[in-house]
């Protein structure tokens, strides 16, 4: 394993550039050789060949053989470690039933009793865990030193260490759903993904991998990362900047602030691919499908979509209109 000379970020096999600072990875020095004109020859028939853009490789004009050349390595990544499930199927189902029963006044009264559970699928969704160090310069408005305006500009610099930043890479879950799950994972419980765990693509068929209900033993689908490595790193950097915006807040003078801007000089970043457990529940209420999610390690973290009783909503709106009309009448009568 080698590191970038400029920012000391760990480089991976196939990296031509550093993911953080874009420093190119030098090739192994070549011994000097005598200079003469050469032609590239087909390995099959020996004819002279040239690079063909359509094939993205040298191709022989006589026998159409294509020569293999080094390709840019930008693979779809797979998780190397996963967090085990700590919530089994029965507990997850009970948690959803409890959640449906507590949907509030706007939910249909018969929701808990009439909702039909269609599937309850264990899913280990894809995420990156990132560690990095950074020099962070910031600028912001705060109430400290304010004169006529309520705000005054400030700027500063701070060194931050980022540990265990989890960045969603899931296609199966929405980003907002991932953000609600992330704070409750016990990252220290990560175990290595065994060959038998991986390889199931939830985009194809997550429901086929039933049986991930043994506590601490995820047999559910392990989601593939849905992004090339190069694109993923931009997302990771954006996540670190978002974290930095929050982490610099104690450095900003004053009690209130706005327009917090950060610029990060990241160094020594390491990235680990994780699979995080969750139960995905599909249920149907009076012909319409809804989805709920149960945290794979915390039974009390349940959220999702649920139906609203339109009659209750209409009654509330009508009541508000009537009250507003009465108030208006009272004002006019004065």
């Amino acid at each position: 394993m080698t590191a970038c000379l400029r920012c000391e970020t760990v480089l991976e096999d196939g990296d031509l550039r550093c993911a953080i600072c874009a420093l190119l990875v030098p090739a192994v020095a070549r011994p000097s050789a005598p200079v003469y004109a050469q032609v590239l020859r087909c390995g099959g028939c020996g004819a002279v060949v040239g690079f063909v853009a359509e094939a993205q490789a040298p191709r022989c004009g006589f026998c159409a053989a294509t020569m293999a050349i080094e390709q840019p390595i930008d693979p779809i990544e797979t998780a190397r470690r996963r967090l085990p499930f700590a919530v089994d199927r029965d507990v997850a189902e009970a948690a959803v039933r409890g959640w449906l029963a507590a949907r509030g006044w706007f939910a249909p009264r018969a929701l808990a009793s009439e909702a039909v559970l269609e599937s309850l699928t264990p899913l280990s969704w894809a995420a990156w865990r990132v560690d990095a160090e950074a020099r962070v310069t910031w600028a912001a408005d705060s109430d400290a030193g304010a004169l006529r305006s309520a705000w005054a500009p400030h700027a500063g610099e701070v060194s931050l260490v980022f540990r265990d930043i989890v960045v969603p890479a899931s296609r199966g879950l929405r980003a907002s759903e991932c953000r609600r799950l992330i704070p409750y994972y016990a990252l220290a419980s990560a175990v290595t993904v065994e060959p038998g765990d991986a390889g199931l693509d939830t985009r194809a068929d997550a429901g086929g991998a039933a049986g991930g209900d043994a506590q601490g033993d995820a047999r559910g689908a392990i989601e593939r990362f849905d992004m090339q490595r190069s694109a993923a790193r931009q997302q990771v950097q954006a996540a670190i900047e978002a974290t930095a915006r929050v982490r610099v807040e104690p450095s900003i003078p004053g009690r209130r602030f706005r327009n917090v801007r950060v610029a990060c000089l990241l160094e020594r970043q390491t990235t680990e691919r994780l699979a995080l457990p969750a139960w995905i529940l599909a249920y149907r209420y009076r012909g319409t499908a809804y989805r709920a999610i149960v945290h794979g390690q915390r039974r009390d973290i349940v959220f999702g979509r649920s139906p609203i009783d339109v009659r209750k909503l209409a009654a509330l709106v009508a009541a508000i209109v009537v009250i507003a009309a009465l108030i208006a009448l009272a004002i006019i009568a004065r």
């Binding site: 002279v48 490789a57 801007r261």
Partner: protein
């Protein structure tokens, strides 16, 4: 168009064709096609300070027919002001060239000062008279801006600054067909460029470094404008120190062609990005169309002015 400011150093060498043995002159290029046996030859020269060995290549993504299609679409989409004959122009000398360039990156440390505008609201009271001449007191809220000085520091990596190292392709022309998708970079091997014209590096690396550095500082300026707090800002001044600079020689694909649309005029030069298809070229405008548009605009303005004057001007 060749850049007169370029420090061109054409390297000339003669080698025997690797297929038939005929003499081949490699003038400013590291690939050449034998005129007798049509074999694509290449030479691997030892690197030197002014003629580095490219470390990386972005390959062409289409052949000449793709470039022709992109050109036809571009010519067809020119504005009404363009010379109509451009749409029936004939293409001369379409050539796919691997153009030498430098890929620059650095760490940028910047000190800045700026005047930050912070809005605040004031309540104003003033005496007015209504149409009947009765005095009234009006109160209104007015938003004003208070300017405060801010000095600070900004850090970041500046990456992906590309600058042409070709004496034949000026940086402005090269810049017009950027960007390239650098995720498609491959490590240089002759197998990637054989059969295509591969130009040697013909600009001084120090000049290219200076141009790249200027591009990096411009990039920092754009970031700083987004970095400023407040409701507005002015008088932004910054001084950037770059360190850990990297200037990597690479090859990028470009189609260069001449489009002849009139026999009495010189051919129009067009440059196409060999990866993305972005095109640049100075399409000539038709003088009478421009004059007609100006005349029409003048007539419309005159009619509006006349209408205002006829109706006695604005009220009051």
């Amino acid at each position: 168009m060749p850049d007169p400011g370029a420090n061109a150093t054409l390297c000339t060498a003669t080698f025997a064709c690797g297929q038939c043995g005929a003499g081949l002159g490699f003038v400013g290029v590291r690939t050449e096609t034998c005129p007798y046996c049509v074999s694509p030859n290449f030479v691997e020269r030892p690197a030197s300070a002014h003629r580095p060995r490219p470390g990386f290549v972005i390959a062409f993504t289409g052949d000449a027919s793709v470039a022709r299609g992109q050109l036809d679409a571009w010519l067809g989409s020119r504005s009404w002001f363009a010379d109509a004959r451009i749409r029936r122009a004939r293409v001369e000398a379409l050539r796919g060239i691997y153009v030498p360039a430098y890929l620059y990156s650095a760490v940028a440390d910047t000190d800045y000062t700026a005047s930050i505008g912070e809005h605040y609201t004031q309540t104003e009271t003033r005496e007015t008279k209504d149409p009947a001449g009765v005095a009234r007191t009006e109160t209104r809220s007015v938003t004003r801006t208070e300017y405060r000085a801010l000095a600070g520091h900004h850090v970041g990596y500046v990456t992906d600054v590309l600058v042409s190292a070709s004496a034949g392709l000026a940086h402005a022309e090269f810049h017009a067909v950027e960007p390239y998708d650098l995720r498609a970079l491959r490590r240089y091997t002759p197998a990637l460029v054989t059969g295509w014209i591969t130009e040697e590096f013909s600009r001084d690396p120090d000049d290219c470094r200076q141009i790249s550095r200027g591009g990096a500082i411009d990039e920092v300026g754009q970031r700083l404008r987004r970095f400023m707090p407040g409701d507005s800002h002015s008088d932004l001044v910054w001084r950037t120190a770059v360190r850990w600079e990297s200037l990597e020689p690479i090859l990028v694909p470009v189609w260069v062609l001449a489009v002849r649309y009139r026999d009495d005029r010189s051919a129009l030069r067009v440059v196409i990005n060999g990866q993305t298809g972005a095109i640049t070229g100075q399409v000539p405008l038709t003088a009478w169309k421009v004059a007609l548009a100006v005349a029409l605009a003048a007539v419309v303005v005159a009619a509006i002015v006349l209408a205002i004057v006829r109706h006695g001007g604005p009220p009051g």
